[in-house]
Symmetry: C2
Subunit: 227 residues, 2 copies
Amino acid sequence: MSSEAEKSALLTRRGLILILSSPSGAGKTSISHSVLREENAERAASIHLSVSVTTRARRPSEVEGVHYHFLSKRQFESMRDQDELLEWAEVHGNYYGTPREPVEAALTAGQDVLFDIDWQGTRQVLDKMRPDTVAVFILPPSAAEQRARLERRAEDDSAVIARRMANARAENEHWSEYDYVLINADLNESVDKVRAILNAERCRPARLVNLPEFIETLDRDLAAQAR
Amino acid sequence: MSSEAEKSALLTRRGLILILSSPSGAGKTSISHSVLREENAERAASIHLSVSVTTRARRPSEVEGVHYHFLSKRQFESMRDQDELLEWAEVHGNYYGTPREPVEAALTAGQDVLFDIDWQGTRQVLDKMRPDTVAVFILPPSAAEQRARLERRAEDDSAVIARRMANARAENEHWSEYDYVLINADLNESVDKVRAILNAERCRPARLVNLPEFIETLDRDLAAQAR
């Protein structure tokens, strides 16, 4: 029997929510993409990025259900008011949120879900889903490096960069609310650390849903062998 | 600047105590040796096995200070009574224990220490050093495999094997007191999991002793750049 088959025969695991938060320019998006790619290369469908709902207009490059689920304001408010969102925010007059149902379905199926959200969203998710949630805060190695990364993004003009730098200070205050903190000095090292966190957290006894039954069987067999 | 140099310049880390516990025949000793070898190959002196003190007579193959520190009963009791042991036990009339001082020195130097102890020792260490301690429980994939592993050890006769199998049941009851649990179906996978746990736990904010100062500097530099 292959080791993968043995493992799946032995233990059933509940999935987890992996939150990555960081100020702009810390390199979170690159880390997220690499973690998703490497984890799924090792085992298909093991982790996916949560798809948010939003009331903002769809851009030509965006695909419904891939980048966002695009909703009317009324649809969004209905979800929010029925507690169908794990977290939500209003940004420049548009709503953004994370629907609860697909996340619950993934966790039950033993799949992990990656959330790319800020400290305010993290706080809401921790309030609702603390036992299922692992929150990681990513810092840039220095302010100069952070600015350089923001400037390398062709899309942002200097006013946007200045605002993002100012927001970074507000975001940084909240590192102590996170389970893990890392400084992204090197992309590969940071990806390895996030994957280590993910693989460690998969070994938490509370996520191994049939562990009590496994131990019971082991003990019964040990007792039988002792006779 | 190399990434290793950058990291050491950016953050100072307090070491951690990594406890591995398991019933006999779960493969803990093989896992410990591989974790130590692989971690130290990647970065010298990053983690070492704690050397216990004991009042048992030294065997010809054993070296003082490597396998154990060999003490008189009076010396041991003096250490124990002055709270110089993180954990201790009496087994078949001999004392065994873990001295506190070298562990404290290692943690302060940013080095991790591996403890190979049972649930009773683990409970004592958690009482004294909870914030510094990460406790991992290792289970065999099945009772049959556990017995086979014990029988492959030439050193044990069948009475010893039977006793170890019985003890395993008592040990197994305590899995829920551990931070992480893994089933050792495959040595390489188990080593990878323990290393993932170690590398994840190194990212806990409470162990990153100068993180508050790092954030302060980052914020000051961000403020300066915003002007």
